[in-house]
Symmetry: C2
Subunit: 148 residues, 2 copies
Amino acid sequence: MTPETTKTDNEDQVRHFIADLATAICAKDIEAIMSHYAPNAIIFNVKPPFQTIGAAPWRQTWVTSLAHFPDSFGIETRDPKVVASGDMALVHWLWHFTGMVDDNAATQTWLRDTVVCKKDQGRWQIVHEHCSVPFNPETGKAVVTPGP
Amino acid sequence: MTPETTKTDNEDQVRHFIADLATAICAKDIEAIMSHYAPNAIIFNVKPPFQTIGAAPWRQTWVTSLAHFPDSFGIETRDPKVVASGDMALVHWLWHFTGMVDDNAATQTWLRDTVVCKKDQGRWQIVHEHCSVPFNPETGKAVVTPGP
């Protein structure tokens, strides 16, 4: 971080960084998606396994998922929150896909996403992502829509 | 952060901070649990709702949960990872309760936990926590055990 880079600058950079990631996903651009992740990123994804260690297996997850996505779809987000300090930033938000075919539960639900990024030589990268839905312990089932 | 506080010092502090939180939970000590959370913390819990905004409703969640817990139980963790920089730190790990009665799915599963802390006047506090299990999109059910 240069002395001229303020907390607000970093928060703005991180907001753009996450918006760029959503754009890359909707473009089904695997290189652009993966450019957001540090090589040693650890991911807690909405689907099994419990954790994905490293960008290489995470790339494979995306390649497999994107093959099932339609040519055109969108991402709707709500309640974004950014906390940045120095070369580290937290972002969390709720989101869901729009325009998806309706035969895949994973693409029909609202999701919670938490991302932690670090800035190295002026470039932000995700070191950890945690994406999930809550689950109802009485039914063992996922809860797929947030409240108001 | 004082100049004498190194990255390793901060990582050690955060490890102790999270271990203290587990001790507080096992002691069913609501004041000690809540002392780990910033007043404006936002929580994505394993159970609904999608998000809990602020320490006050999060305290109520703990009060309600602890009432159902046995007098004595433990917490087993694995794969802890700490990343600290300046006054901010990320910790994530897998964990489950031990010694719980077996009538509550929420206390029988392995969980993934992500915590982001900030240090203010020498004191770490959680600003965001995300706790979840993966879910199987084919069944809509939670997946309750991690792989090897």
